[in-house]
């Protein structure tokens, strides 16, 4: 009896907080964000209904068939093929119908080619900081050499200034982006695996040493967002934080010029 009531109470409590959105995502600030959110909500509705139905059924069965002095013998049955097959068919259809549409959102983000006019910014993770590199007016990232890396002298990426393309490269601990412009981040790491996570933009991608991983999105809202690290990278993992400001195109140009000085 108490088991049944407890199962129900926990079901109600959990469902309440999901419905009330007591703790929830921040508003989406990127073009693909609402697609992820609606896929999440579809999943929440489907799994939520199943969650509530099964937990209620479980509680009900335990309550209904608990042993009483008046209980007769239990029903003798070894199962039912038809019900079994029905449950397989229904589960398969419901879950695949739910999961399939989400795959095209993923494909659009990660597989389909980047827009021609996307702005490229290189992001390099290191213990425990983010380095953002803008290519400068020439639009080219200059050569980097590991042996030139020196955090203390302000060359965390090992830019080789013998390469003319490196001269105007801008390396910063923070990031600014123009709103409504397609962005392509090139994610790298100097040392161990990190993960670049910005909640409002609905982006997360591991930065893996040895790989350059592209991450494409379009910011649609201005504002200042926190960049955090989502992959354990050592004792300072929790403070590997930076800021990202999405601003108007004009502000962005002004910001770039200001930073270049």
């Amino acid at each position: 009896m108490v088991v049944a009531i407890l199962i129900w109470l926990i079901t109600i409590f959990t469902s309440y907080h999901f419905l009330m959105r007591t703790w929830w995502f921040p508003d989406s600030a990127s073009a693909h964000g609402h697609l992820l959110d609606s896929q999440f909500e579809t999943t929440l509705i489907v799994t939520g209904v199943i969650f509530i139905l099964v937990q209620i059924a479980l509680g009900y069965l335990v309550w209904k068939y608990r042993q009483k002095p008046s209980s007769g013998k239990a029903i003798y049955t070894h199962g039912n093929h038809r019900l079994e097959i029905a449950s397989i068919v229904v589960t398969t259809i419901v879950f695949y119908l739910m999961v399939l549409p989400g795959q095209s959102i993923w494909a659009d983000l990660y597989i389909n080619a980047p827009a021609q006019d996307s702005i490229q910014i290189e992001v390099t993770g290191q213990q425990f900081a983010w380095n953002m590199r803008y290519p400068g007016p020439d639009g080219k990232f200059g050569r980097t050499l590991p042996e030139l890396i020196d955090d203390s002298s302000g060359n965390p990426l090992g830019l080789d200034f013998e390469d003319p393309a490196a001269e105007d490269d801008l390396v910063l601990p923070i990031m600014a982006l123009p709103v409504e412009r397609p962005i392509e981040l090139l994610l790298r790491s100097k040392d161990v695996t990190h993960s670049f996570f910005v909640r409002e933009l609905r982006i997360k991608q591991d930065t893996v040493p040895g790989l350059t991983i592209p991450l494409r999105f379009t910011p649609t809202q201005t504002g200042t967002f926190e960049i955090v690290c989502a992959e354990l990278c050592g004792l300072g993992h929790h403070r590997m934080r930076s800021f990202l400001e999405v601003m108007s195109d004009a502000d962005y140009r002004a910001w770039l010029e200001e930073m270049a000085e």
């Binding site: 999961v99 890396i149 161990v192 354990l232």
Partner: protein, 595 residues
């Protein structure tokens, strides 16, 4: 082949204490040894989780005991971030390997698999002894990591390289501590491989006359499938561990790419891939989830049938779904890696394959409900835990449907949503299976009964407690709270999570306290519990034929013949509401296990 030659594995009962209880070849003693090892390990793992919870809510608190134990990791009794990560790494490793892998399989499996199929012992008793003692050595080596210079490893239980491969330069605990961790896991893998071979051979070779495969109790099926998973998975982890150790000590570069610079120092490795480790690790790691939980499914099925006084609903479907879950379990490891930088095409394939696991999982849930339906349910503590296992399996499983879609996983990956999810399904559900098994089989193992009232109290507190801990973690994930953060003050948006963290910590305290009720009940019953009869639950399987506890050779040389499936409860026309598996064939009803 299928039927046992009876005295195949029999050996004379040893008389000296050392050979009887320490280096025992008796599967029952070995089962108890595994269980006690897990019991010790779970309290260590739980203590670590208490430290984790304290640090998250009262960061900077001084704990006197910590200073005495770990002057390096907690100077002045205050936990450093690296100490926090060491606690977290060891908590995960101890719980996954030393508790969830040992108790359900090494513990109950060793004890009851041979008895439930009518065998005198496992197929290879000496190998069995070796499995346990290797596991023991593995635990000692792992715990030793706490006390070496630099402390325990800080790279998480998943030990992703390059962090885990570069040594002390990448952080504290990544020197000797990490080496010990790898050695411990390698030894554990060998022990598990030997154990798996033994389980598989025993099931195939030592079944008593009439114990056809389709008359085996579902726990036996679960241990059998788990052993197959172990045989295929642990070998891969062993290989990965050896490669990682070579990268660390022999200058190889399996997992370390070229051009790395750590703290301004160039690393002299080239050509390796960090993703290779992730593929190998998760090729083991995902089946490991099922290694932990399949025995719980078997035990739950058994207990639901016994305490509903009903045949299990859809026996064959239950068997096939276990194989389905086991097979699919090897095809889905990539869902841990959607954000890892692997090909985005494979993410879609892994996602669709993972969704397929929902089907056998739904069959199991459906059949468990079907078993309860129309039953005569008595709520013994074992039954309460088994019912709650179903509930947790559903909650945890449904959470998985957010993580198996790459699109929704983008936001949730490596957040507390994942932590809540895998603790519910892998940790707590499996632990509930262990508790259910303990309350069910204790009387057989030790000849005495545990106290029912204390068992029920333990159940209530644990049940409310674990939900209060792990459900809110899903909400932390929705806020975007990343995992494995030693402190929360560095990130602005985490400020809103303080009340949830506080709530979780209090719930954790209560849940941990409740486990001492269990420990007390266990120890009390061991010495003072009321004597148990042969078959207190009126159950049908072979372990209930023999005295509690069973003699050294289990059946005392008696020739058994099995005539029935394991779930003949409430058979129409029978006076008793259960028919033992060895009862003579019935006149009216055919009781081969029909589906």
């Amino acid at each position: 082949m299928a039927e046992a030659e009876h005295s195949h594995a029999a050996h004379a009962a040893p008389t000296s204490f050392i050979w009887k209880y320490i280096f025992s070849k008796d599967h029952k003693i070995i089962g108890i040894q595994y269980y006690l090892l897990a019991l010790f390990a779970v309290f260590v793992g739980m203590a670590l989780s208490v430290l984790i919870r304290i640090n998250l809510v009262w960061s900077g608190t001084s704990i006197g005991l910590l200073e005495a134990l770990f002057p390096e990791g907690a100077p002045g009794g205050v936990m450093t971030p690296e100490f926090y990560l060491a606690m977290l790494t060891m908590h995960g490793t101890i719980m996954v390997f030393m508790v969830l892998t040992t108790a359900p399989q090494g513990g109950f499996g060793n004890y009851f698999l041979p008895i439930q199929i009518g065998a005198d012992d496992m197929a290879f008793p000496t190998l069995n002894m070796l499995s346990f003692w290797l596991t023991f050595v593995s635990l000692v080596v792992l715990l030793a990591a706490f006390f070496v210079s630099g402390g325990a490893p800080t790279s998480g239980w998943t030990a992703y390289p390059p962090l885990s491969a570069l040594g002390e330069i990448a952080g504290p605990g990544l020197g000797i501590g990490q080496d010990l961790w790898i050695v411990s896991i390698a030894i554990f893998c060998i022990a598990s491989l030997l154990g798996a071979l033994n389980f598989i051979t025993t099931v195939l070779d030592l079944r008593v006359k009439g114990m056809t495969l389709m008359r085996m109790p579902l726990p036996v099926w679960a241990w059998f499938v788990t052993a197959i998973l172990g045989l295929l998975a642990f070998g891969v982890l062993l290989a990965a561990g050896i490669l990682l150790l070579l990268d660390r000590v022999a200058g190889t570069s399996f997992f370390i790419p070229g051009g790395l610079v750590v703290s301004d120092q160039i690393i002299n490795h080239k050509g390796g891939s960090p993703l290779l480790w992730q593929h190998l690790f998760w090729f083991f790691g995902h089946p490991e989830v099922y290694i932990a939980i399949l025995p719980g499914m078997g035990v739950t099925s058994q207990i639901l049938a016994v305490f509903s006084r009903k045949p299990i609903f859809g026996y064959k479907a239950m068997v096939y779904s276990m194989f389905g879950i086991g097979t699919l379990g090897f095809l889905v490891w990539g869902h841990h890696m959607f954000m890892s930088g692997m090909s985005p095409y494979s993410a879609i394939v892994f996602s669709l394959l993972t969704t397929a696991i929902a089907v056998p999982s739904a069959i199991k849930t459906f059949n468990w409900l079907g078993t309860l339906w129309g039953g005569r349910i008595s709520l013994e503590p074992a039954m309460q835990f088994a019912i709650r296992f179903v509930s947790l399996f559903v909650s945890g499983g449904l959470g998985g449907l957010f993580l198996n879609q790459p699109s929704t996983d983008i936001y949730l990956h490596d957040t507390y949503f994942v932590v809540g999810h895998f603790h519910l399904i892998m940790g707590v559900a499996a632990i509930f299976g262990i508790f259910a098994g303990t309350y069910y089989w204790f009387s057989k193992m030790f000849g005495r009964h545990m106290n029912k009232k204390l068992g029920t109290l333990h159940f209530w507190l644990t049940f409310v407690g674990v939900n209060s801990i792990f459900m809110p973690m899903h909400f932390l994930g929705l806020v975007g709270h990343p995992r494995r953060y030693a402190e929360l003050s560095g990130v602005n948006f985490l400020a809103q999570t303080a009340p949830l963290h506080f709530f979780i910590t209090i719930a954790a305290f209560i849940t941990v306290a409740a486990q001492f009720i269990f420990l007390f009940n266990f120890l009390w019953a061991l010495f003072k519990g009321p004597k148990a009869e042969r078959n207190p639950w009126s159950a049908t399987t072979l372990e209930w034929e023999i005295p509690s506890p069973p003699p050294h050779d289990n059946f005392g040389g008696k020739e058994l013949t099995v005539h029935h499936g394991p779930y003949e409860y409430s058979v129409p026309g029978e006076e008793a509401d259960f028919v033992m598996q060895t009862a003579r064939p019935l006149q009216k009803t055919d009781t081969g296990t029909e589906n």
